[in-house]
Each structure stands twice: as C-alpha cells, then as structure tokens.
Symmetry: C2
Subunit: 213 residues, 2 copies
C-alpha cells in the first residue's frame, strides 16, 4: 500500500469534485473525463487525474471516469460514506443557519446536539433539536460519539468551547469565530472566517474606481 502524504490542497479539491459529480449523476450522465471536469471546475485536467490517482485507479483509459463509481470512491476517501455525528455550540443566527442546512447535507454530516451558554437560548428548538446548556456538553458528546465540533460563538468564547470539545473527545473542529484557537496537535481545526474572506476580496477591488474625495 502506498503511503504518500496527501497534501491539504488535494483534500480540499475532493469535495469540489464530489459536488459536481453529484450534479452529473442527477442528470443521469454516466461518464466524465478529466477534461470535462477541468473545464467545468476551472482546474487543470492533469491535476484532477493526479489527485484521483493518489487514491487508486478509478478511470478507464480512452473512456474516462464512471460518475457513480467515482462518487462512491470519493465519499469513501472523505469518510462520509457513514453518518458522522456533529455537535454545534452557539445558537445565534449563524448556528441556526448551519443547523437548518442539515437538510441539505445528504452528505452524512448530522448535527446531533446544539449548545449555548445563555439561559435565554436553552430549551429553544432548532430543527428538532433542543438547545442544551454548556454544562452538559462533555457528557452529551461522549454519549453521542460526536466526532466533529462546530463553533459559532463570539471570538472571546471560542477557545473555551474548543477546550470543552477536546475534553469531550471530538477529533476535528470547524471554527467560525474570528480567532485562532489552540488545540492538541492531533485535533484538526479548520477556520471558516468570512470576515477574512470579505477583507481579502476587498484587496482585489479596482482602486481607480474609488470615490474621489
């Protein structure tokens, strides 16, 4: 078995492939070439072939890739071929939005518990889940075997929430708070920071269009 290190860039492209393959499958397209994929996704076909080849020989020379077969393979690689229990802390606007996205996620990511630090939120129902107090976090996520934690609290509470997730045994964290959280190195953290996203977008604005003062 090959043991090449797969770069993060490769892993981040897999969901992009998957999303488009799902579209194709819905349209009953059976086969797709790296050429087709590259054109649609603005990526180099060679890169797509190389990305997929890290994990196996999924294509057929002269033909391309079987759409449904490739979907199955990528889902397996991403480990989303089984339901993954997820917990979320922070029942504000963003937290609610993510919980309701659940419907969207036919992708086996299931939010199974929601927590909030504020009494006013506790007991509230979001997408059929009752918001629980922080005190119950560690036990609940242990019991439910939660593997991924989502943080949608203000920046100043994020590190504390992360610590509790770690105590509760999550393996990965998706952090929406605009702050770098510190966790043991074996825990994977991704940041989803749209403030930063907007700011870096602004860099590309055309300065000649600035309003003259």
């Amino acid at each position: 078995m090959k043991t090449v290190k797969i770069s993060e860039a490769v892993v981040r492209r897999l969901p992009i492939y998957l999303r488009y393959l799902n579209e194709l499958s819905k349209k009953n397209v059976n086969t797709v070439s790296s050429q087709d994929l590259g054109q649609k996704l603005d990526l180099n076909p060679a890169q797509i072939r190389k990305d997929l080849a890290y994990f196996g020989e999924f294509g057929k020379k002269g033909i391309g890739y079987d759409v449904d077969y490739l979907i199955e393979k990528i889902r397996h690689i991403l480990k989303i071929d089984k339901v993954i229990p997820v917990a979320l802390v922070g029942a504000g606007n963003l937290g609610r939005a993510l919980c309701n996205y659940n419907a969207y996620l036919k992708d086996n990511m299931k939010i199974v518990a929601v927590f909030d630090a504020h009494d006013s939120k506790i007991g509230e129902s979001i997408n059929n889940l009752k918001v629980k107090p922080m005190g119950e976090l560690t036990n609940t996520i242990k019991n439910l075997q939660v593997r991924i934690g989502i943080i949608t609290v203000p920046a100043f509470e994020a590190q504390n929430v992360a610590n509790q997730f770690v105590s509760g045994g999550v393996e990965a964290i998706l952090n929406f708070a605009p702050i770098i959280i510190k966790v043991p190195h074996e825990i994977r953290v991704h940041h989803a920071d749209f403030t930063a996203e907007l700011q870096s977008l602004a860099y590309y604005l055309d300065e000649t269009k600035d309003i003259i003062e």
Copy 2:
C-alpha cells in the same frame, strides 16, 4: 514602484495579521516582532516579514513593528480604510446571520441592501434594512455604488444572482452557494462553502475510531 505579483496566499494572510494586531492594539501593546506574530498565528516569522515587505518597509530593525502603524498600513493595502458598500441576496438564515454580523464589521464593510426572490421575505426588516425584490437589484446597487455582492441563495439560483450582480456593476462576489459560478474574468469571486469545509475535515478523522459494524 515595484510591480511584483502578490500571490493570493499572501493576500489571504493579511486579514489574519490584521485581526491579531487589532487585539494587541486593544491591549495597548505598542510593538510586535515577526517572531511574536509567528508564534501566535502558527506561521513562520520569515514569511510574515516577507509578506509585509511586498508592500513597504513597515518595521524597524532591532525593534519590530509599531502595532497601530501596521494596522493602518494593512487596512490601506486591503482597501478597507474607506467604507465599502456591500449588497446581499438571499434573506434566509445565513443571509440574516451575515447582516447581523454587520455590527461586528467595524472593518468598513457595510451591507447597504438586501434582496430576496420570494414575496414572503420582501419588506421584512433585517438589521434596519428592508428586504427588496430582485427586480430592484440592478438599479439599487448602481445607485448605492455597491462594490461587493454576497450570495446566500440555494445553488440553483446562484448563477442567476451572480449575473445580476455583474449587470449592476459589482467588482467582487462572495458566494456561499455550493456551486461554481461563472463571471467575467475581471470580477473576483471567492467561495465560502462550509459543506466542502466539513467534508474535507472528515478526511482527517481517525478511521481506526470508526464504529465497527
């Protein structure tokens, strides 16, 4: 004047620097070294110095960087030293969350108009903004000189919204819909896709911990 191409990686780190510098400023810290920054942000100090040096000589040898001066400079580089008018389409949970984040954004990103395609949403008030019908989009954003558009509609409506943003003259788009939108090359698009984010997180889960069936 140097005309080196600044890579996207560099631009994406600037908001990260800025965020931490703002924290320091609030704590009345006057000076910071690339060493300090690197440690706090999990980045190589040489990289930080190099990033900043693309834009000017902001530090003092033997001393480090003046926090407030560097904040000012980065804000200027990112073009967020003036208010940037932003419009948002899709008054669902996520859209509302982003609008309310406005308060957070002392960063000169101002959502000045919100639109939705559905009658039930139109007229509703979100953070002091009345949701407007799609028909008014092009004119409104022209009048308000909107420069950035945010898309928080379902995937199948996203391309249409993008087209309208382009007609209305936006220069950049932040797309939350899980689909690749096509726009003229001079328009900058960033994707903020937490489905993809979650899926790539799942890859890093420890498979030895999978439940045995």
